[in-house]
């Protein structure tokens, strides 16, 4: 198993958050994490991204524990819902800064710019870009060190139809390259068209783990928004 999560827990004020949750992920899976607002989807991904520290439990990627941060971050790239880039600087500067910190050669920056069709924007300041383009730069940055696992938190939130289609294409390309992907989503069509497996969280607990076919035939899907 590439990802092993055992009793991973995070509670905010003993109410919201993630109750003890366990699951495993095989290499190359594309998993949709589904649930209401406050169900614990983002908490789960942010814990795996080291944004939030778990109260208890364990998470391993390729045998490396979450708590060994400097080694763990080489295994996982995280794309948050709101792009977090240095707005004052250019696309190229942002990627080069992180390439230095990842100790990745600048050649990789050129590759990412090419792969994500960012070459025409390389000298543009981030603050001048649309959200879709910023998201593309964010994804490119997450892939700079070529991590085997990628996490996307609401990747299509705030994107228009064209940008959403473009993002689906990118996700499929990244998945086809052999990466394992976990993404959170509210959109049934997104889940249906992308995911190879679905995890449903409700009030902090994992209530469903199965294939898209099982999910869409289950009562969970029908009742999810009635739960």
């Amino acid at each position: 198993m590439q990802i092993e999560i055992r009793n991973l827990t995070k509670l905010y004020d003993q109410k919201r958050g993630l109750l003890p949750t366990s699951f495993e992920v095989k290499k190359g899976e594309l998993i949709a994490v589904v649930g209401h607002n406050g169900a614990g989807k983002s908490t789960l991904l942010k814990m795996l991204a080291n944004w939030i520290l778990p109260d208890s439990g364990q998470a391993m990627i390729d045998g490396i524990d979450l708590r060994k941060r400097t080694a763990f971050v080489k295994k996982v790239g995280f794309v948050p819902e709101v792009p977090n880039l240095f707005d004052f600087f250019t696309v190229e500067y942002n990627l080069k800064l992180f390439a230095v910190l990842f100790q990745t050669p600048f050649l990789r920056v050129d590759e990412v710019l090419r792969e994500f069709n960012l070459l025409p924007f390389r000298k543009n300041k981030i603050q001048m870009l649309s959200k879709g383009l910023k998201q593309r730069v964010n994804i490119g940055r997450a892939l700079l060190a070529d991590p085997p696992v990628l996490l996307f938190d609401e990747p299509t939130s705030g994107l228009d139809f064209e940008m959403t289609k473009e993002l689906y294409r990118l996700l499929n390309t990244i998945h086809a390259a052999g990466k394992t992907i976990l993404f959170t989503s509210h959109r049934p069509e997104e889940i249906k068209s992308l995911a190879t497996r679905i995890l449903v969280l409700h009030e902090g607990g994992l209530v469903f783990d199965g294939s898209p076919q099982q999910y869409f035939q289950s009562e969970i899907h029908e009742n999810l928004y009635a739960l």
């Binding site: 942010k46 991204a49 080291n50 944004w51 939030i52 520290l53 941060r69 400097t70 080694a71 971050v73 080489k74 790239g77 995280f78 948050p80 709101v82 977090n84 880039l85 240095f86 707005d87 004052f88 600087f89 800064l97 992180f98 230095v100 910190l101 990842f102 100790q103 940055r141 997450a142 060190a145």
Partner: protein, 343 residues
């Protein structure tokens, strides 16, 4: 390790350049320099004293005759009443008014804008000389004045300006920069790389120290202020820069947003600046001020700049500043490890 620190340091300095912080720390010394240019200096010639005499008052004849005899140094303006005198003083048309003393009709009261000014001193000195001449006394009891802090007022106020700049960078600029990185999740993005928390903190502290050195150097260049013991001065600025940069970074970690960091910065800035800077003028503040780290920076600063002191004679202050800096650095490290107020 060094590579990461340097990359983060250059990034922080580039941010300071882009968000105009660097202009702020250059503007402040420039503003200070311009203000000092217009400040009265100890060796400035006051020139003629413009004194007001009230028309209805009966002054002793020897005073009137002495003042008239000294027409080269004293210009007399006759005014209708005290109210007019107060107005003319405020308008800087006269330097003072001689009034009848309410308690002793044989003596006078001098009405001036401020007791502690060169003009007041000049009036008192001139009238004292006139009185001695009129009464036939030739020698002064005090023949000369020697000051503990030599130099003009520009140099004497230099430690206050340096303190202001160091605290401004520590308490206003750095907390806002740290809080901005937290608010925009930029710090979390950096922590998704293999850098260590300590490397980020070291880079941030060095950024604060570099900004401090730039501002201090600029002020010295503008005012052409020399320093006798340069090495000691550099050591003190480095230790002070470290202390207040680390302190400011810690304040930034206590805030979720830039706005709250600015508010908290001001809350810490003024109590650190005012008691120390005003301790020269108040005995009560001299009792309270030593409890502030700023005072432990300000006193050695005065000693080095105004008395050509050496850091070898101020180990307590240097160790104190270093310990405060190290302690707040450690607290920031703990908060960073815990992702304090980060989303």
């Amino acid at each position: 390790m060094m590579r990461n620190i340097l990359a983060l340091l250059f990034n922080d300095l580039a941010i300071a350049l882009k968000n105009k912080t660097i202009y702020l720390i250059l503007f402040i010394p420039f503003f200070v320099f311009i203000s000092l240019k217009f400040t009265d200096q100890a060796n400035v010639s006051v020139g003629q004293i413009k004194i007001g005499l009230v028309q209805g008052n009966t002054y002793a004849p020897k005073i009137i005759s002495s003042v008239k005899a000294a027409e080269k140094s004293i210009v007399v303006t006759w005014i209708k009443n005290e109210t007019e005198g107060r107005r003319l003083i405020k308008e800087k048309k006269i330097d003072g008014v001689l009034l009848k003393n309410k308690n002793d009709p044989d003596s006078l009261t001098l009405l001036v804008l401020k007791r502690e000014s060169f003009h007041t001193l000049a009036i008192v000195e001139n009238f004292s000389a006139l009185q001695k001449a009129a009464e036939g006394i030739s020698a002064n009891w005090i023949a000369d004045i020697e000051t503990l802090y030599p130099g003009d007022i520009q140099k004497q106020t230099l430690p206050t300006w340096i303190l202001m700049i160091v605290l401004l960078i520590g308490f206003i600029i750095l907390p806002a920069q740290v809080a901005e990185e937290k608010e925009k999740n930029l710090l979390l993005a950096l922590l998704q790389t293999p850098i260590r928390e300590g490397q980020w903190l070291i880079a941030k502290v060095i950024t604060g120290m570099v900004l401090t050195f730039i501002a201090v150097l600029f002020l010295h260049l503008l005012g052409n202020f020399g320093v006798e013991n340069l090495f000691d001065y550099v050591v003190l600025i480095a230790v002070g820069g470290f202390c207040f940069s680390a302190y400011g970074i810690f304040l930034g970690f206590l805030c979720r947003s830039q706005a709250s960091a600015r508010t908290l910065g001001v809350v810490f800035y003024l109590p650190h600046l005012l008691p120390s800077a005003l301790s020269d003028y108040s005995q009560q503040l001299t009792v309270v001020a030593p409890f502030m780290p700023s005072y432990q920076f300000y006193e050695p600063l005065k000693t080095i700049l105004l008395e050509d002191g050496r850091t070898a004679n101020m180990p307590f202050e240097l160790v104190y500043l270093f310990l405060v800096g190290s302690f707040t650095f450690y607290l920031s490290y703990i908060l960073m490890k815990r992702r304090w107020l980060m989303r």
